[in-house]
Symmetry: C2
Subunit: 218 residues, 2 copies
DNA sequence: ACCGGGAGGATTGTTCAACAATAATCCTGT
DNA sequence: ACAGGATTATTGTTGAACAATCCTCCCGGT
């Protein structure tokens, strides 16, 4: 979502991606109410344009409308986490299983892992989380399917939202770097089957972990 | 997309679904330009509200923005058809393979097949097409996954758009009714594996057919 | 006849101001 | 303490305005 786009596409979309980034980065917290007038003046745009941006993000599941009360940052639930992981399994595993080892997205995967490792060495765990998500986007990019890629982009924004809800200790992201490294290694070696199996493990482990963190919340 | 929603959700969304229905029903043809002032006055809403609706539908892939020229009804290409069928396979086949035979969506599948047959007997082929798509939505509903269901709803709108582009002979929809009947029968009998195989055949056949029709166009 | 280049009109992009409708808050009288 | 009504804040929707951009068509030069 919050990636390559823009140009002259229009102010509303630009605002939408900016808001999306703020949500993903944690500047806007889940459940927070977004007042139209306040944000419009802050971002120096008109209320109408802001409303267009809100509509966009509502469609993406980043924001939530309440009929006559306004928009709020979406708050992820256990049910939504389960749903997201289910969809992830459905998309990512076949994507990896049918991967062409010399697809350009493999390089993206490698870059994402490297970046995650660098960020981990500086203890910037939020950046590690972003890099890990970029890794999985690269996996989906292996399919060359615009619709699957767009769908997954939405899922990943929602996922970042959920991560933002949790406390951010190293344990949330650090263990997965080496797993990702193993996966990309297998793909580069041409062993898609094994890579897909590893990914399945990854997803199971990650899902369990995030659910457990969630349960420890409220 | 153009289904259960509404209530007090807001005028823009209501307009969006109405436009979406018009697109799906063929009242708005692919490639057609949508003038803001014209539609705003016709539908008796303000231009601002209409623009919000446009933004919504752009996100769904129903409309297309061209920077300083306006919005157009999206026109499906061969590439998009291929992409849609790829995503359909990825989602529908596992959905069916893991189906619980007494899931309520099975009844929806049965109803859709019955309806398609009735419409075929009256030679209303557009309605047959809609019923067939409803059948496949019901398949995805077997997953109980809100995100997959929403994603598939988008795909199905795009698909209807593509059908609208084609000439509408019986051959486009009629052969698939009996295939659908066979699939729902297998599910009711608890033979998911066989149902999934049948679905795979269905999709392959349907894709070949639509691609051939497409090639015969321009 | 052909081509370049404005002039003018149409349409979008964005803003602003206004008001009705609804929800939240506060105040008051018991 | 609390029910109920008045007040305020916010959203929902509209209309008008103006700049920016694109399209068309006409005109003049070669």
């Amino acid at each position: 979502m919050a990636d390559a786009r823009e140009q002259t596409t229009g102010l509303a979309e630009e605002i939408a991606t900016r808001l999306c980034e703020q949500v993903a980065s944690g500047a806007l917290r889940p459940g927070q109410r977004l007042f139209e007038t306040k944000f419009a003046t802050e971002m120096e745009i008109s209320r109408n344009t802001l409303r267009e941006a809100f509509r966009l993000l509502t469609r993406d599941g980043v924001l939530r409308y309440e009929p006559n009360r306004g928009v709020f940052v979406a708050v992820p639930s256990m049910a939504s986490i389960l749903d997201i992981y289910r969809a992830r399994r459905l998309i990512e595993v076949p994507a990896l299983a049918q991967a062409w080892p010399r697809h350009e997205a493999v390089a993206r995967m490698r870059l994402a892992v490297d970046h995650a490792e660098r960020m981990a060495s500086v203890l910037d765990w939020r950046a590690v989380g972003s890099a890990n998500i970029e890794f999985h986007r690269a996996i989906v990019a292996l399919t060359d399917s615009p619709r699957l890629i767009a769908f997954f982009a939405r899922l990943s924004v929602e996922l970042r939202l959920a991560f933002g809800l949790l406390k951010h200790p190293a344990v949330l992201h650090e263990p997965y770097i080496s797993l990702n490294r193993a996966i990309v290694q297998r793909i580069e070696d041409g062993d898609q089957k094994c890579a897909a199996d590893l990914l399945e493990d990854y997803l199971a482990k990650s899902e369990r972990m995030i659910m457990a963190s969630f349960a420890r919340l409220d």
